[in-house]
Symmetry: none
Subunit: 187 residues, 2 copies
DNA sequence: TAGCACCGTTCGTCAACCCGAACGAGTGTA
DNA sequence: TACACTCGTTCGGGTTGACGAACGGTGCTA
């Protein structure tokens, strides 16, 4: 049961609207015109005062060209790739030894460890797992195209990537003898 | 640009509300009371007439114990796969794809993921971690001597080993460019 | 400097969302 | 049969969201 219900959605929406709008490089007036709403309404929404209706927020999602859920859910980092040898924060260094923390474990999460081996050919399309699941992948050898169906990345030996597992995602080996460590995380 | 924006959200919300409510086995009155909204409001929403505000829909999401996004996103196919031959060992086999479950995660355990790279030389002696911790190691390349100080094993690329982490243990690379995935498990 | 265009905010007005109450229908019980 | 209870729907009324207009501020141009 993911408790993303705790935080008030209104402030999240306010932040998301302004963030997505500035990211797109659009003015408040322009977005309001595209969405077909009054710019005064959008101004109040971005200031945090207001309780928009679904249709209003939906129109804004269309105008900003972002999926609706991105406006209400806090912007979770989706696909993250750590290339071999450039891990964020070397945590332990001792004689000829380097440790890199790839993903610390959230409380009460469950992580199962797999090794997967693949050969080039038909890409494997994985159905979504239970909501909230996250996949971590470290390539041992070969090259691999993987990630959510709409956001695929290519990783090689030693690379690390993580992405949500509750959406359709793919695995496709690009070289013979490709294998990887897969850590499946359930909430 | 995922075009999940096309379908009208109101009918989707209406269906989602009724579906999630019946799935939970709750009456309309009960859900309305839990959400703190009038049951007339919920009745109109489930009938498709109405354009709820965010706070109203959020309260319903909390009452139904479902993440907010499930009420607005079209019901994604929640395929829960129970593969043939479940259990430790080969769990999934598909065209050019083999998945092997190395270690199923015990409940309420925490697992942190590291990549460690080592060069031959002086072996790294690790002090015991907190009691109950277990280390899982998958070698990406090279060779490695590791394990508790009194029970060292030698592993190569693609090998997996696990041993208790709450006793003194060692890591020693036997070849240049040795690296491995380390999953540290705390209870 | 005056003029213009656009920016984002604030102010009244209207529609509609949300509410409480009342209503008809179904079920179990004395 | 009469009663009590709960179900989900429908009906007036108040609060509020969405709208349009006007406002001050900024940058560009003649």
């Amino acid at each position: 049961m993911p408790d993303n219900q705790t935080s008030a959605p209104l402030t999240t929406i306010a932040e998301s609207l302004r963030r997505e709008r500035t990211r797109a490089g659009l003015s408040l007036s322009e977005v309001a015109k595209r969405a077909g709403i009054a710019k005064s309404t959008l101004s109040q929404l971005e200031s945090g005062s207001g309780n928009p209706s679904i249709e209003t927020l939906w129109a804004l999602g269309v105008a900003l060209e972002v999926p609706f859920s991105r406006l209400v859910d806090p912007p979770r980092p989706r696909v993250r790739v750590v290339r071999a040898g450039e891990g964020p924060g070397v945590t332990s260094e001792q004689a000829h030894f380097i440790g890199t923390l790839l993903a610390s474990c959230p409380p009460h999460a469950r992580r199962d460890i797999y090794i997967i081996t693949m050969e080039p050919g038909s890409p494997r399309k994985a159905d979504p797992h239970i909501p909230g699941s996250v996949e971590h992948l470290i390539v041992g050898a070969g090259r691999l195209r993987t990630g959510p169906a709409d956001d695929v990345v290519e990783v090689g030996a030693g690379d690390y990537t993580t992405f949500p597992g509750d959406v359709p995602h793919v695995y496709e080996a690009l070289e013979p003898g490709t294998w990887a460590v897969l850590v499946m995380e359930h909430v």
